[in-house]
């Protein structure tokens, strides 16, 4: 802790000048392979719901309005930018842009909603008599996540119904 060492330390730091990046004034692009916000390309999407099944945060909701119309809603709130949806998409319709400037004051700004036309097969088609509600439940391919409340509807047996239990324990502080 001699005086000389402090002096040298000051000169060393002063020699570096000013290293601050002038960030909001000048744009600072992210490096290659940076995973930013996913962009859903509606022209390429075939509505297979692979991305929705693979998302670890359950951020992509699928709802079948009718036989031909499937709504795919990406809520941006919980997305961790992990790129699992883009990896599994068969048509490469999801690209992770290098866009990290996603700050906003309304969380709904990050959402992307696609309404897709599920074209019918020319031969066998999907246009048969629409099944009853019971048949809809048994049939694979029909998805009805809860778009109004923005929740996934889990269809596996191991999942219990209802919200997880909260607010049941009062934790006293000091």
């Amino acid at each position: 802790m001699s005086l000389r060492s402090k002096f040298d330390e000051t000169l060393l730091c002063l020699r570096a000048g000013r290293v601050t990046l002038p960030y909001p004034a000048q744009p600072q692009p992210a490096p290659e392979q940076f995973r930013g916000r996913p962009i859903f390309d509606a022209a390429k999407c075939i509505g297979c719901a692979g991305c929705a099944n693979n998302c670890p945060a359950r951020e992509i909701l699928i709802f079948d309005v009718s036989q031909e119309i499937r709504v795919l809603q990406y809520l941006g709130r919980r997305c961790t930018y992990c790129e699992r949806c883009a990896e599994v998409c068969p048509e490469k319709a999801i690209t992770m842009s290098r866009d990290f400037e996603n700050a906003t004051d309304k969380i709904g700004d990050l959402g992307q909603r696609l309404e897709l036309f599920m074209s019918t097969c020319q031969r066998c088609g999907r246009c048969f008599k629409s099944p009853s509600t019971l048949d809809e439940l048994k049939m694979k391919g029909y998805r009805f996540d809860d778009i109004e409340n923005e929740r996934w509807i889990f269809r596996s047996q191991s999942r219990l119904e209802g919200d997880p239990v909260v607010d049941d324990v009062e934790i006293e502080l000091d």
């Binding site: 402090k6 000051t10 002063l14 000048g17 000013r18």
Partner: protein, 306 residues
């Protein structure tokens, strides 16, 4: 007539302290930032901080809200009181109203404001902060008192104008005691103005800001203002006691020279603050204890006229 001049001088001193104190803090922050190789806040930043704090909501919290209010008002008023007894390029404004003993008491009282603030909050963190501040004050205030007393011994008077005119060097022959006290004060100056090697009690993220924990809004502005003013006040006292050369020039040049000396001292404080780490309380007390021994030697030498 005399009354008018005195009151004008008092107002001039107070206005100078109020205007220059945040500027000195801003320069300090900017230079610290440049030493750390970054672009710091603008130099007028402390003015913005104080204005913003004035606009916040005032929450009375803690165990003794009345004492909280009292401590906040006391801190800035003590700082401005001290400003009336300090020469800032000219003579001491209220020189006939007080002497060195009053100055020593006022300086100690400004340290007590922080203790009252911490007591008013009453939480564990603030009590820990004020215990450390008490230990520091016990070891530290005697140093400045002994410096003033050495000056008083040399000039055989307790009047402020005489003592604060570079009196530390006025002994017989080589000013041994003056040089000793200069060294002691330089080593402990950082502690008086509560900067980095010794800011043990306040503004410390270890203790959640210690005594000032429960303050918000305008009262916090008063405390921060008092802290900024202390830097300027102690610097001017140091310059008046130990660096008197050049104060005999006529009016504008003497004043400018005085303030240049003060800013050189502020620069020195900044450089030391930017390159050191904070001391632990026991390391600091050990240092101050050593310095008290040296200053007793200087006191003894001053009694014998050296």
């Amino acid at each position: 007539m005399h009354v008018i001049w005195t009151s004008l001088a008092v107002l001039a001193n107070i206005a100078t302290v109020l205007i220059v104190a945040p500027l000195a803090q801003g320069i300090l922050r900017k230079i610290t930032a440049r030493i750390q190789s970054r672009q710091g806040p603008p130099v007028l930043q402390p003015y913005f901080d104080l204005l913003k704090l004035l606009g916040k909501e005032d929450i009375e919290s803690g165990e003794y809200p009345l004492m909280q209010r009292f401590a906040a008002y006391l801190s800035l008023s003590i700082a401005l009181c001290i400003a009336c007894f300090v020469p800032m390029g000219f003579a001491v404004p209220l020189g006939s109203a007080g002497d060195v003993i009053l100055l020593i008491y006022l300086l100690t009282l400004s340290g007590i404001c922080t203790l009252l603030a911490g007591l008013a909050a009453g939480s564990t963190y603030s009590l820990l902060g004020i215990s450390r501040e008490m230990m520091t004050m016990i070891a530290l205030e005697p140093l400045f008192a002994i410096a003033l007393v050495v000056g008083a011994l040399h000039t055989n008077s307790l009047a402020l104008d005489a003592v604060l005119g570079g009196s530390a060097y006025k002994g017989v022959g080589i000013p041994l005691s003056g040089v000793l006290m200069l060294a002691v004060m330089l080593l402990s100056f950082q502690a008086f103005v509560q900067r980095i090697p010794f800011d043990i009690s306040e503004a410390e993220t270890e203790l959640m800001e210690g005594p000032l924990m429960e303050y918000s809004g305008p009262k916090l502005a008063l405390f921060k203002y008092a802290q900024m003013a202390k830097l300027i006040l102690y610097s001017t006292l140091f310059v008046a006691l130990f660096v008197p050369w050049g104060s005999t020039f006529p009016a504008p040049i003497g004043w400018l020279l005085f303030w240049m000396k003060v800013f050189v001292l502020v620069l020195l404080v900044t450089l030391v603050a930017a390159t050191h780490a904070r001391y632990r309380i026991d390391q600091a007390i050990r240092l101050f204890a050593g310095l008290i021994c040296v200053s007793f030697v200087a006191l003894v030498l001053a009694t014998y006229g050296f």
